[in-house]
């Protein structure tokens, strides 16, 4: 199980794509990528989770860090494509509403 991360920027707006399994093994790498992303102070970040198969509490913590970091800078975070097991976890933790997942 592993995850891969890509940041694609269009018209100055970064989209973070997360694929695979975001867990205790891969979350530290994502946290580093998040730090790099936050350093650019983007006004809005889209996180595409349509290719995310699994997430655990470590992965959730990394995304919460991203959310808090962007909000602290006055920016906005949009998550899209959440499905299956990750969606169930977000709902259980009541983060679906925080992250604007419908």
């Amino acid at each position: 199980m592993s995850a891969s991360f890509d940041v694609q920027t269009q018209h100055g707006q970064p989209t973070l794509l997360i694929r695979g399994s975001l867990d205790i093994n891969s979350a530290p790498s994502l946290a580093e990528r998040i730090d790099q992303l936050l350093a650019t102070k983007p006004p809005r970040v889209v996180v595409d989770l349509s290719a995310l198969d699994l997430i655990d509490s470590s992965g959730v913590a990394a995304l919460v860090k991203l959310y808090k970091g962007i909000r602290a800078q006055g920016g906005q975070l949009e998550m899209k494509g959440t499905r299956d097991q990750p969606l169930a976890i977000f709902k259980l933790l009541r983060m679906d509403k925080v992250f604007g997942i419908v």
């Binding site: 399994s21 205790i24 509490s57 913590a61 860090k65 808090k68 499905r83 299956d84 169930a88 933790l93």
Partner: protein, 138 residues
């Protein structure tokens, strides 16, 4: 994870792990719940019971019936008092302390018996609430 994925498939009938792509397809409610809980408990043992140990063994035993799955994990790490673990304040958007809460909520039964060896017993039953047909129509 493949061990648990196969055990889940024996109960839910849904394929959880694709051997060709190596991807997990966890979309059946039963599989979602059990895989989520197992990941948290396995990580808990690795992170906390074996903290500082470098490495350690985790013995897994699965008991499968047509309507339920029980997985036991035994480890020789440091024991802890599970009753002392607080329920996370979800409204505060915690960045930790969610694992036990996830596992407990996802399972029908979760027992922890301090050792040595420490024993986790995770049980999930295939009920009306965990059949996809009912979940989708609810």
């Amino acid at each position: 994870m493949r061990f648990v994925a196969e055990a889940c498939r024996l109960v839910s009938g849904a394929r959880v792990f694709d051997e060709h792509t190596g991807a997990f397809e966890v979309n059946h409610p039963f599989d979602t719940a059990f895989v989520s809980a197992f990941m948290e408990i396995f990580n808990n043992v690795a992170l906390h019971a074996y903290r500082g140990a470098g490495s350690g063994d985790i013995e897994l035993v699965a008991s499968v019936s047509p309507t339920a799955l029980t997985v036991e994990l035994r480890d020789a790490g440091v024991a802890f008092n599970i009753d002392a673990i607080p329920v996370p304040e979800l409204d505060a958007l915690p960045e930790g302390g969610m694992g036990i809460h996830i596992a407990r909520t996802m399972l029908d039964e979760m027992k922890y018996l301090p050792g040595p060896p420490n024993l986790w017993r995770l049980t999930k039953r295939l009920t009306v609430a965990t059949t996809p047909e009912v979940s989708q129509s609810a």
